[in-house]
Amino acid sequence: MAAAAAAAAGGGGGERSSTRQRLLAALEDLELLARELIELLAISRNQKLPQPGEESQILELLIQRDGEFQELMKLAVDQGKIHHEMQLLEKVVEKRDNDIQQLQKQLKEAEHILATAVYQAKEKLKSIEKARKGAISSEEIIKYAHRISASNAVCAPLTWVPGDPRRPYPTDLEMRSGLLGQMNNPSTNGVNGHLPGDALAAGRLPDVLAPQYPWQSSDMSMNMLPPNHSNDFMLEPPGHNKENEDDVEVMSTDSSSSSSDSD
């Protein structure tokens, strides 16, 4: 009887236990009740029942427990179905997660590529701008190249031999014959070694006798002004106004021919 009471108490427990636990509890109760019934029947076979109603009581309990058990089984089946569905949904969620990650990767890659492309395009634009700023007509360049080459300023004359007084820079003689030289009194210095006497003896005075001195610009018809500066160079010039565009007027591009030597 005590066992039957315990079984009754266990079966009707209000705690939130899992279905499995409840199922197992119900099974235990059934087992317990069946055992008691069998014991009772075994005893009653040998002797008279002390309490006649006990077997029917146990039987009732047994039937009740069985009913509970059946219900629990149904519940278990339903729960199983739900669990299965849950697993399917979880799989779907996982797949979607992967898809999202994949898309994220691709997006990042695309962003990287685009950023690189944009950067390179900007660099290209910068260099285009730079090139455009320094654009010079080919005619001007050719004229300038002719000017500095034909006068043997940057390229030696083909018949040059050691002893020829010509040089890739203004010689002493030329310096003294120029504007600078004329301004000051010519001081005695033969550091260049090319005194007028030597040049005369060599019979080569191409530049001196020319009315235009070689390093002077022949196209001075326009107003080409040097940048403004204070005449006191002791002070640090505060950012030379080289970009004094107001002073520089438009120049004519057709410069007169260079002072070429006749050699």
Partner: protein, 122 residues
């Protein structure tokens, strides 16, 4: 004032090109011009000749290279030595002859080739 500016332009044009003459640089160094702060500032000021609108007037554009070097104190100090100036002079002349020599080599090569063609035709 305009004529003053024109004169200044011509003078500075002449002077900056004189800087291509290493002997002149040696001369200036030995007389202590490179130690004068005002002169050094003037050299810095002359850098405007690097701009294309001014450089176009230079007959000796190599003076700009010398001008750039002159911005360095070490270079200015070295120019006191005559050997330094002589070395620069020699190098300049050798470089000056570079294109003439190249042209002569090309002409020689062309002449040799033509000779070969003539002999093969015969």
């Amino acid at each position: 004032d305009d004529t003053g500016n024109r004169l200044r332009f011509q003078l500075e044009l002449e002077f900056v090109q004189c800087l291509a003459n290493p002997n002149y640089l040696n001369f200036l160094a030995q007389r202590g011009y490179f130690k004068d702060k005002a002169f050094v500032n003037y050299l810095k000021y002359l850098l405007y000749w690097k701009e294309p609108e001014y450089a176009r007037y230079l007959k000796y554009p190599q003076c700009l290279h010398m001008l750039e070097l002159l911005q360095y104190e070490h270079f200015r100090k070295e120019l006191v030595n005559a050997q330094c100036a002589k070395f620069i002079d020699e190098q300049q002349i050798l470089h000056w002859q570079h294109y003439s020599r190249k042209r002569m080599r090309l002409q020689q090569a062309l002449a040799e080739q033509q000779q070969q063609n003539n002999t093969s035709v015969k």
